[in-house]
Amino acid sequence: MLFYSYFKTLVGKEVTVELKNDLAISGTLHSVDQYLNIKLHNTRVINEQKYPHMLSVRNCFIRGSVVRYVQLPPGSVDVEILHDATRREARGGG
């Protein structure tokens, strides 16, 4: 639940989601669920020339399992809180 909780704190922030098929989409994180499925608003595809069919997409739902990376806004990463939450999660048994 650590990353679900963390992503909930990012709602409203700008993130870039990179998919396993190399498509990268930036947008405002609208919502996230326990599977780390993600809804983005005001989306922009990073390499629009390569993916012209995505030009008109403004909102999208991304299935968690197709995500490779999420680039996070530096200002919203609190390292201390993440460390503590990770240690708690590790102790609680994975």
Partner: protein, 102 residues
């Protein structure tokens, strides 16, 4: 869940299960080998039992192999990029190596 924790118990420095190796690498720079000829180097800030991770000051290396049209020689190219903070989904992880400890 994401509350600032009160006093943590002293860290157990023994490796009883494989994930202990990752636990002992928190806040250290690690090497991660991923599917698709990708490698990451970065500081480990968070992880869970799936090997989902948050890394900081990340350098990603992507290796591609091209075949020269004429000589059929393999040309190995590496592309690098820097990313300040990155969430990595665990299902793409092959190997994690902590920094060398004395």
């Amino acid at each position: 869940m994401l509350k600032q924790g009160a006093g943590l118990a002293e860290e157990d420095a023994t490796v009883k299960e494989p994930l202990d190796l990752i636990r002992l690498s928190l806040d250290e720079r690690i090497y991660v080998k991923l599917r698709g000829e990708r490698e990451l180097r970065g500081k480990l800030h968070a992880y869970d039992q799936h090997l989902n991770m948050i890394l900081g000051e990340v350098e990603e290396t992507i290796t591609t192999v091209e075949i020269d049209d004429e000589t059929y020689e393999e040309i190995i190219k590496t592309n690098k990029r820097a990313i300040p903070y990155l969430f990595v989904r665990g299902d793409g992880v092959i190997l994690v190596s902590p920094p060398l400890r004395s």
